[in-house]
Subunit: 231 residues, 4 copies
């Protein structure tokens, strides 16, 4: 069985929990407070931005054949940032209006530490898992979101054909890398696949529950969505 | 004003919140459930272990005069791990009995990403802030903990004279580094000082509230301390 | 005085020695054996290729405003590789026909070690010095090379207006970075400026004298140019 | 066949050329000018010093079981530096009296770039190859050097039983690592084994021929040994 297939099967309950997250379901159903979506936009903008140095840090460890694709992803991420900026302007969200949440900060540190410290196949696993998670997650939203929704361009971006092709490409490359490494490294890749999924879930959770740092004012007890609903 | 003095003054409310954290106050007063302390021990053991590669990653960026002190810290950390193992054996805690909590994992990623991506003076700021936080925190515990407590050896380690001298050394070196860099880097150092303090608070919070990953089973809603208290 | 101006002035004799190197003078005068130029092409192709991971490794340390320019340089380098391939095909040179020479290998290690280990302003100094060296060197060749020469496209590339504008941009940015750092780091930048220039001279020297590894067969005693001339 | 055995067999002519290098043979026979040995001492002191950040950069990529041994090597290197200082004082050599030669500088860049960019098993190959080369090389010298020679303590250090045990340990660990990785990585390890050997030969060559930078004053044409012999 291919590595990616085996991993998706192994952590199926976790992956399903991600796809059933209230953020996705409520966005799909048009039931999510605008302020919660805005909170997610601010944090994901910071995350997409931080993905650029992550891609760059992967490149020096990559086989030559991956250099152009990785450079291409950097350009795609820059285009994605423009999408956020265009959507934010359309709905009046200030993308620089909030500092990185604990979860956003932590996830970015995980990307960079992995890119620097781990071999390429392990870091590439994190790239694949994060992109696959986004594709599958927004396909959930796609199944119900009103095409007139101001958030629909995000669906078109991540659930669309171009992104599907990109994720399929990453999947093929990751399966090939997994075949080439030894068993011990393949196990570390499997661990990173699971850890990345847990960070993805934590990210959706942060979008709904609020982005404070644990134990400080604005911590996890002061969810943005809850605050919204109490108004 | 020295850099460290200025920073401690600037983030005083945050620092004070850290020193007033329930984990420390309740440990000092002999009022913390054993299971909560055991939870902290398991996570801090993983953290101290992870500090070894952090120190190693700092060394190639350090001035020559810091090489021996940094190598010395690696040895001190190895000794600290022995302290955990000895205490754990004494009270029947399995140090390998729990996976890294979300906060522990995130904090370790922050250490490694900083060591790799940032210049030395910035990464050294994180080292100082983390060690200073530990020294001050355990001095709070020292003010009341029963010397017969099984946790007293931790107080002796981090609140003791040797550790005080080590923190004072780090402080002097960090102040010197801060004088040598430009204003923009000094501001990034200040940011990292604050961020490290927030990770420290999050760590105490995790010890009390439980170490799950947000949005997954065993997440933040299932605090270890709470579970303990319900028994 | 601006940092770059001061450095070019400080190492003037070294810079002038580089610009007076026989490889440049003889290329300018149409007096260089084809085989020597082919030797340089093979090695510089490997070097340009290796500059891509160098640029990528710089990006995670760069201020945000440099991300797009650095990504742009990666694209420019890919275009430069196409120029080599087109020229090599035109004159029948096999770009993969030779392993990296000692000097080429060493220079590439210097780029990568610097990008990983040093702060951004120091690594950026190496980038500037290498690009400035190329611009000035090929302007020497431009002053005499027959426009019908098969090597003229290299002159157009590195001595041309676009490259001049790129080098001027790097210069302005490096001067700004040099203003922002402390004195100790500025001195390390100055050292790296000089070291890069010495690697550049070593590279021209290798092109003429042959690319062996010292002490092994095909070592420095068996210059390609000399061999050519004996025929 | 074990990996190390296979590699030593594969590059046997290169390894034998290293062991037959004039620097070793003439040192063994008491026939090397003092100034040439002093030149080597100055450069190797810089190299041993630079090996400390190399070891440190390896540690964060190493399996836990290697952390203590690697920290131990850092201590051994510090002790080795004391040996150089003691010998230098005994014979009146100024260890800080010369800048890094081209070859010494290049070799150090190779160590650091490898430690940062490559997976652990590849970087560990460089460590093994360099230490094995030293052990075998000084055993050649051991076979004839007058025990009263001021250089004999170097023989005792690198040709002695403790160092032999250390190299045997590295060999066992490298063979184990080589078994665990995939074929593609094992081939990159083999390449690095060969490249390290070529740097080792270049280092002996530099000691004899002089340490200038190619194409600059004091370049390879002005060997220290030759200068000595002309006196």
């Amino acid at each position: 069985m291919r590595f990616t297939e085996a991993q998706l099967q192994r952590i199926r309950p976790l992956w399903d929990a991600m796809l059933a997250h209230p953020f996705l379901i409520r966005t799909r159903d048009g039931d999510l407070p605008d302020r919660t979506f805005a909170n997610w936009m601010q944090q994901d903008y910071l995350f997409v931005e931080a993905a650029i140095p992550f891609m760059a840090a992967l490149l020096p460890k990559a086989p030559h054949a991956h250099w152009e694709p990785l450079a291409g992803v950097i350009q795609a991420l820059q285009k994605e940032l423009r999408l956020f900026e265009e959507r934010a302007a359309a709905v009046g969200v200030d993308l620089r209006g909030a500092p990185a949440s604990f979860t956003c900060h932590a996830y970015v540190q995980f990307l960079m530490a992995t890119a620097y410290q781990r071999p390429y196949a392990e870091a590439y696993t994190v790239l694949y898992a994060a992109e696959k998670a986004y594709h599958d997650s927004w396909r959930v939203v796609q199944q119900g979101l009103d095409p007139a929704s101001p958030w629909h361009p995000f669906v078109e971006n991540w659930a669309g054909d171009d992104f599907a092709a990109y994720v399929a490409y990453l999947e093929g490359e990751l399966d090939r890398l997994a075949e080439q490494v030894g068993e011990a490294e393949r196990e570390r890749m499997a661990d990173l696949f699971e850890t990345t999924t847990k960070y993805e879930i934590a990210f959706w959770e942060m979008a709904v529950e609020g982005g404070g740092w644990p134990g400080t004012e604005g911590g996890s007890g002061e969810g943005v969505a809850d605050a919204e609903e109490e108004e």
